[in-house]
């Protein structure tokens, strides 16, 4: 299980003539199998998630994943950390389902036979085998999210970060994604507004105005979040 170490991290984005702080002096070590992150829109949770795979580098402080610093060793970090975005359309980069699942593997220079075998296994696992050669843009919203998940998990990351993966899905597809996430052997960090998805999680972080406002078991963290938004 990769140990994630976030040390005194602060980050801000340009805003007008100055900068708008989004994270202020956050420190946390994460080694549990299932970690949830909740918070209101603009609370800093998405920026926090992007820090963990080096998509965002902190203004100050340090982020380490399994001993790799995201600032100096981003490539190694991204091989360990798979990232699933809210909008699968932004994540699907190839015209057909099969090609998109194989994209990450091709970038790693694996042999075509190995790629084909791993892609076929991933398509079967996510129920996409029947539409393997379909144009990816013609899939339903739920299928697109499953494709995005398959494309990330086919590279076998040690840690999966999911940034509100069920926000654009209907109830049925949200439950399908929830079940798949529950069964994953990987360490999972799930950002969500659907608090029921966090049942059974080991730990939940609550962000509020760029600060880590609560770090507790799901029930207590959810209650803290509810009080914050009241």
């Amino acid at each position: 299980m990769p140990l994630i170490d976030v040390i005194c991290v602060s980050h801000s984005y340009p805003s007008g003539n100055g900068r708008r702080p989004v994270l202020s002096d956050v420190s946390v070590a994460l080694s549990e199998q299932r970690i949830g992150i909740i918070g209101a829109n603009g609370s800093g949770k998405s920026t926090f998630a992007r820090l963990l795979n080096g998509l965002v580098l902190p203004d100050s402080g340090q982020v380490q994943v399994d001993g790799h610093d995201t600032r100096h060793d981003g490539r190694a970090v991204r091989r360990l950390v798979g990232f699933c975005f809210t909008d699968p359309d932004a994540q699907i980069v190839m015209p057909t389902v099969r090609e998109d699942v194989g994209f990450g593997l091709r970038r790693r220079g694996l042999a075509p036979v190995e790629i084909a075998a791993r892609v076929d296994r991933a398509l079967a696992r996510f129920g996409l085998a029947d539409c393997a050669d379909h144009p990816s843009h013609l899939l339903s919203g739920g299928q697109k999210q499953l494709l995005a998940l398959a494309a990330v998990l086919v590279t076998e990351p040690a840690l999966l970060i999911m940034d509100e993966p069920t926000t654009l899905l209907d109830l049925r597809n949200a439950e399908v994604v929830g079940r798949i996430v529950a069964d994953l052997p990987q360490q999972v960090i799930l950002l969500t507004h659907h608090l029921n998805l966090l049942d059974g999680f080991d730990r939940v972080l609550v962000f509020d105005e760029g600060r880590l406002a609560c770090d507790d078991v799901p029930a207590l963290a959810s209650e803290h979040y509810r009080q914050l938004v009241r």
Binding site: R50, N53, L55, G74, R75, R78, R79, G82, F83, F85, D87, D89, A90, Q91, I92, V93, M94, P95, T96, R98, E99, G102, F103, G104, R106, R107, R108, G109, D133, P135, S136, H137, A151, V152, T155
Partner: protein, 199 residues
Amino acid sequence: MSFATYVPGTTLVHRLPAGLKLTLLAATGIALAVLDRWWEPVVLLGVVLACYLAARSPVRTVLAQLRPLLWVLAAIGAFHAVTSGWQEVVDVVVTLITLVLAAGLVSLTTSMTELTDVLLWLLHPLHRFGVAPDRTALLISLSVRSVPVIAALAQEVRDAQRARGLASSPRAFAVPLLVRSLRHAEALGDALVARGLDD
């Protein structure tokens, strides 16, 4: 959809190497430019249609390739009918149809992965001049992938425009489409990095 999208299959045409298909497409283009008797493009069109048959492409797929060109073909045909006679009409119109159908056949029977592999091979000698073949090939894949995404964004903007009673405002269409497209491009960039573009 007005452009040919890959349709998987196991026919001989599908199984031909992508490089050979692209070479044959280029040869067809050169032949159409060089040959000057009116019936020669007709023979080539027959060959291309035979290849569609061999690829088991339905007639509606062939027609779909031509539908966006109908007005252009009609205008060009009418012009040559007035200025040059029927043989020139057949020559020019059939040449255009043959080229479009031949290119469509390659797209319909060749996956983007196969096409980018050929492109990678073609671009490889340019590596010494600072061209990154893999990035260039990826750029082309992304362009193809982005067409339906931008089309969907345009439809969403148009719907929102109608809902707000701004149906005839080009500015109300162009500005949000541009903003959404840039947002999509930014998100796509993040996704590419997250999915190992820098591997």
